[in-house]
Amino acid sequence: MTDLAALSARALAKAIAEKKTSSLEAAKEAINRLVACHELTNCIVALEADAALEAARAADAAVAAGGATGALAGVPLAHKDMFDRKGKIASWGAAIRADRPAEEDASAIAALNRAGALQIATLHLAEFAYGATGHNYVLGHARNPWDPARITGGSSAGTAAAVAYGAIPLGLGSDTGGSLRLPAACCGVSSIKTTWGRVSRAGAMPLAPALDTVGAIARHVEDLAVALAYLAGPDPRDPAAALLPVPDYVARLGDPVQGIRVGVDEKVISEAHPAVQRMVEEVLAILQKVGLQRVSCAFPDWQTLDHLVQLVQLPDASAVHAAFLRTRPGDYGPQVRARIEVGHFIGAVDHLTALRARGTYLQRTLDRTFGDADIAILPVLADPLPTIAELDIGGGPNVQAAMGRVVKFTRPVNYLGLPALTLPVPRNGGLPNGVQLVGRPFAEAQLLAVGQAYQRKVPPEIATPLF
């Protein structure tokens, strides 16, 4: 009997198309596993079982009639609850969103609908996606499927937990400062944070539009390629969506990776916990085994980048929330409110300086960091997987410093707008963690090819509680 939970989305779609299983069977199993996952991790915002089973029956009927199309036809998925769907209200992980239903689907949702995917639930996220740990003082905190005492990472917490647990093979998320990479690393799965502008944000909750990106989390790198093939491309609904051609991500999974130069900035990496530095070395050794070449590289001063991204993000997010913060401040959780409030004290000149400097710093990165390297490796988390209690600090005095440590290696990449693939490190029987491979602009296909080669050495796992 096929273990549906272990299949990639791509393999499951093939099995459904070949009638080796059915969409209905897959949806039932996904719902059962998702409910079990929720009991362990608090991953669900809203389960949509009846609608999903009805859609699965329709998908099976289409297969029987020879009319099923799309690379994910009949595959049950679930996504971070921040994407518009016609006639529904996305919670955004917050108490404040009870106004009016969406008039049309978010472009990312529409893309996966074109792929034939089903949606069985909406999933946990940090309040307004403004949190890097999975804490949410409205929905309750998300818990890690490997160890429920530990964080899932955020903000795409529910997607990462559900994917890691094998409830779904793939789900959507977003990344403004690390929100796809951190939960993927914490839960031991993969994610693709796309180049700014590669995927339309139309209909996705805005956090800080100058930095916001939409991407996906999956156990199998090949599923990230399948999803991106539908998600990427221009969109008149998002003026920031790039007009550049979209490569055939799936075909390019098999690109040779021999000789690709992976840059190591030892100064930046040395700021991680020694155990995390060892994980980076272990991944580098595997990448060298599959043919990559290790070289040195140097990013622009990392603390400067970290300050610049905050000078963009904090006022950008505060502006998005200005009306709600004035009229309904009590409806915000303590941590999000504390972070949003800071943005009101960033001067306009400083904000614009950070925006004006962005092109200069990106050019410097391309010339120097990527002068002799094709991709660069960085940690995702600075430390081994923290507990929920350790970071349960609400809006207290240490919130900026503690959250700053969590996103230390992720948010500067958002300032540069570059794509980043998260890969789980070998667990060696312990807790998960991850590294990110950062690429040149719009080099997602190259990153995915490297990730595919890596997974031949480090196959995806399904999470089971270790403690």
């Binding site: 180049t195 700014w196 502008g197 920031a240 790039a242 550049l244 051609p245 979209v246 490569p247 603390q303 400067t304 300050h307 610049l308 905050q310 000078l311 904090l314 505060s318 200005a322 913060l325 004035r326 401040p329 504390a338 409030e341 800071v342 009101h344 004290f345 960033i346 001067g347 000149v349 400083d350 614009l352 300086t353 950070a354 925006l355 004006r356 400097a357 962005r358 092109g359 200069t360 990106l362 050019q363 391309l366 809006g395 005095p397 900026q400 707008g417 690429g439 040149r440 602009p441 719009f442 080099a443 296909a445 190259q446």
Partner: protein, 67 residues
């Protein structure tokens, strides 16, 4: 008292966070954090050409594309 003789309403507190109802300790922390970031902005501004503009980022991103 006639309408024209009413005391003028107190001036509205100036500043974008005025309506945010922030506790004093939050306000102090927020100002301190913003001040630290402002130092970096001042330093970065010194090295930026006057011609640097906010659209340059998108141009560099597209020019550096490696699909």
């Amino acid at each position: 008292m006639a309408a024209s003789e009413k005391e003028p309403a107190p001036a509205r507190q100036v500043g974008s966070a005025a309506g945010a109802d922030m506790p004093d300790e939050h306000r102090a922390r927020a100002k301190a954090h913003a001040a630290a970031l402002a130092e970096t902005a001042a330093s970065v501004a010194l090295e930026l050409p006057m011609s640097a503009d906010v659209d340059e980022f998108r141009r560099v991103l597209a020019a550096g594309a490696k699909p």
